[in-house]
Amino acid sequence: MNVGKIRAAARFGVLAAGFLAAGAAHAQSLTIASSAPVTSIDPHYHTLSPNQSFDSHVYDRLVDRDPKGTPIPGLATSWKLVDDTTWEFKLRQGVKFHDGTDFTAEDVSYTIDRVPRVKNSPASYSIYTKAVKSIEVVDPQTIRIHTNGPYPLLALDLSQVFIIPHKLGSDPTTEDFNSGKNAIGTGPYRFISYKPGDRIEMERFDGYWGKKPDWQHVTYRMISNDATRTAALLAGDVGIIEFVPPTDLASLRKDDRVRLSEVVSNRSIFLWLDHSRTGPTPFVTGPNGETLDKNPLKDLRVREALSIAINRQAIVQRVMEDAAIPTGQYLPPGAATYNPAIKPPPYDPERAKKLLAEAGYPNGLRVTLNGPNDRYVNDAKILQAVGQMWQRIGVQTNVDPSPWSSFVAKAGRQEMSIFLLGWGVSSGEGTNPLRAQLATWDAAKGLGTANRGRYSNPKLDAMIEQAMQTMDDAKRDKLVQDAMKLAMDDVPVIMLHLQKNIWATRKGLVYEPRTDEDTRAMGVHPAP
């Protein structure tokens, strides 16, 4: 930097200092810095976690979630099964929309009807309403929802569907939500303005039915650059930031200007293995690069060897800076259907070598490890760490990370042999990863939609089907736990770790960390 500029900046700074009083925090207002842009104010347009995080302020759903992910009453005060295909929801009385109209059963039926018809939606919420066959309004405070066949997850699915008033008329447009005209909900905050990629302003709604939040005015800012988000917090321009980057964790833990809140999330990071080919798979060869006559990844011994050759504890400590825990399954301890019998695979390179030899590869293998480099926390570094650990059991590993936009298409076409992906369990329980990730890929049934390695296990498929027919929660949870044990013993994917969700607030504030990644102004309180 040259002299002239330092002087210019210094002079400007002196001028600016006089006007600083305006920048001091107002007791009644809160600024949140989110890590990714909210793409729409329309709550049914784009299933994207930043959108859902924001939507929770303005809109309500029938079933809400507490910070641990457990379903709690939202606009429905209670729900029960009438028979295997009929659910009855009792609606909360005396709830008002932001425009003053009353919330009734008609709004629920209107919302569920609108969800699949949102125009040009790139990721529709209809995945959460497709089980609904018809809706019956019994009286203004009671509705019955009939499902296509038994569907035990209806209440969980509806916890993703935000209710809008029926007076918006037929097919309200997404643009009218973004402009604020249609942005009417029953939530604790009223929408004021939206500047795409920059900020959303909200004001407390005094007619809210629930607990009154602490903040009169909330600004929801989008700051996607990690270093900038941290700097904005340190400078006091924002009160709370989400997704604290692991590189800053060590210094923030020691900084007395901020306070961290963390919780283990439902987002697991793992390696997919190619199960789709019995013949040679493109990126696994013999130790000298020679083509193999079959796919070694179809052999359980090879899969297990690759799994136990990884020192998960080291990755969690060194690469993730303790912003993760090692895992052997999709869900963290304490979550519904978590199975304590599935332990994180132990690190045992000696046994890994033996298993490889038994499988007929005493001289090891040569593999390419693919993955994204801009999607998950430290994704490319994790790949490098795994590559080095595999090297030690004689698996020569070439690490090849690429940007998500080109990586994800290849992953969807089974063009890679071993690749890193993550999965956030939105429902908070095990049928979600079982059905989407591990069930056999089946377009007609809509199963195995995210089964990128095309794993297929008929016994597991049968157990999943049975669980989905079981309406009794306790019995179903047991079935899901057993199915998960059966699956993970077969090493369909190599589980690495579960990420932690980490928020940092200014010293005077506390945030109750949420497993679902939502950052809600309602959860930010002045420190006691």
């Binding site: 930097m1 529709s124 990629g197 340190l234 936009s405 377009a443």
Partner: protein, 324 residues
């Protein structure tokens, strides 16, 4: 003059067309936007429905023809991500980038020309050498690092300036501008300085080189011999003669500062076009990428045109039609 203008316009049209073809093929090769946008929990039928909805199931040439047809009617398509017209999205972000880039370029002139002039007049003085050494830093320090350092010093340590964002805006010509409010100016100070750092060094060095080259020339000696005041010699005779390269470079740099302010914009969370385009490229939001690049091509063509016309004003020897 008219034929020259028409020829220029024809060339411009061709460049824009070529660019749209390249973007269509490029995005197609990288991947499918649906893979990125769609919820990972959506099933296969839902995926097929979205692909059809966005028209991505058609062969690429047909998608391109549909785009061309719409473009002729002034419709550059709707963003896949925001479901808003691409042009409206870009226009909403443009004032932020424009005011930042223009401020940065103005800063580079206001700071760069006097410093360069001084360094050219006193090339062996201590200050002259210091200025030149400093300009090397301006060239070589990475923008994002300088940006973060500015934030750490002026926002975090000293607390003089707001760390990020655009601050309060006021309306002018139906658009929102920050430079009209004090809060907006305070937010703009650091990003504008950060963005101008490279240009300051560039202008400074050009000015110095021009001064060094012009001073020994006969007309300067003659002007001095005639007894004109040193101020008049420098500010009228010397400065006017070195302005041609400076104007060219400042013009082109204005274009690239607008088009590629992305690093500064993301470091300072400045909601401009640069951030929009980077986000759009990450999710392969083709309508926005195409519309943005078309706009940038037009911008460069316009700036080049203006620079050529400015030439004739600054140097009477240059004739636009003389090029034939």
């Amino acid at each position: 003059m008219l034929t020259w203008l028409l020829r220029r316009l024809f060339q411009a049209l061709f460049v824009v067309l070529a660019m749209t073809v390249i973007v269509f093929i490029g995005v197609h090769v990288i991947g499918n936007p649906v893979d990125i946008l769609i919820s990972p929990e959506a099933d296969q039928a839902e995926r097929a429905r979205i692909i059809a909805d966005l028209g991505l199931d058609q062969p690429l040439w047909r998608q391109y023809l549909v785009f061309l047809g719409d473009a002729l009617h002034g419709n550059l398509g709707r963003s896949f991500v925001f479901n808003e017209p691409a042009l409206k999205l870009i226009a909403g972000r443009m004032p932020a980038t424009l005011e930042l880039a223009v401020t940065a370029v103005l800063l580079s002139i206001v700071i760069g020309v006097p410093l360069g002039l001084y360094a050219g007049l006193k090339p062996d003085g201590f200050l002259g050498r210091t200025i030149m050494a400093g300009s090397i830093l301006g060239f070589s320090l990475p923008t994002f690092w300088v940006g973060l350092m500015l934030i750490m010093v002026f926002a975090v340590q000293l607390g003089w300036l707001p760390s990020t964002g655009r601050g309060q805006t006021a309306e002018l010509f139906g658009l929102q501008w920050s430079f009209l409010t004090w809060d907006g100016l305070r937010h703009m100070a650091m990003p504008a300085l950060n963005l101008s750092l490279f240009n300051i060094s560039l202008v400074l060095r050009l000015t110095r080189a021009g001064v060094r080259e012009t001073l020994p020339m006969d007309f300067v000696k003659f002007a001095r011999a005639k007894g004109l005041s040193p101020a008049r010699v420098i500010f009228v005779h010397v400065l006017k003669n070195i302005m041609i390269p400076v104007v060219t470079v400042v013009g082109l740099e204005l274009g690239s500062t607008i088009a590629f302010a992305v690093v500064t914009e993301s470091v300072f969370a400045w909601p401009g076009m640069g951030k929009l385009i980077i986000d759009s490229i990450n999710v392969l939001d083709r309508p926005v990428i195409v519309a943005y690049l078309m706009l940038i091509v037009l911008l460069f063509i316009t700036i080049n045109l203006l620079v050529d016309i400015l030439y004739t004003v600054l140097d009477p020897r240059v004739r636009l039609e003389g090029k034939r």
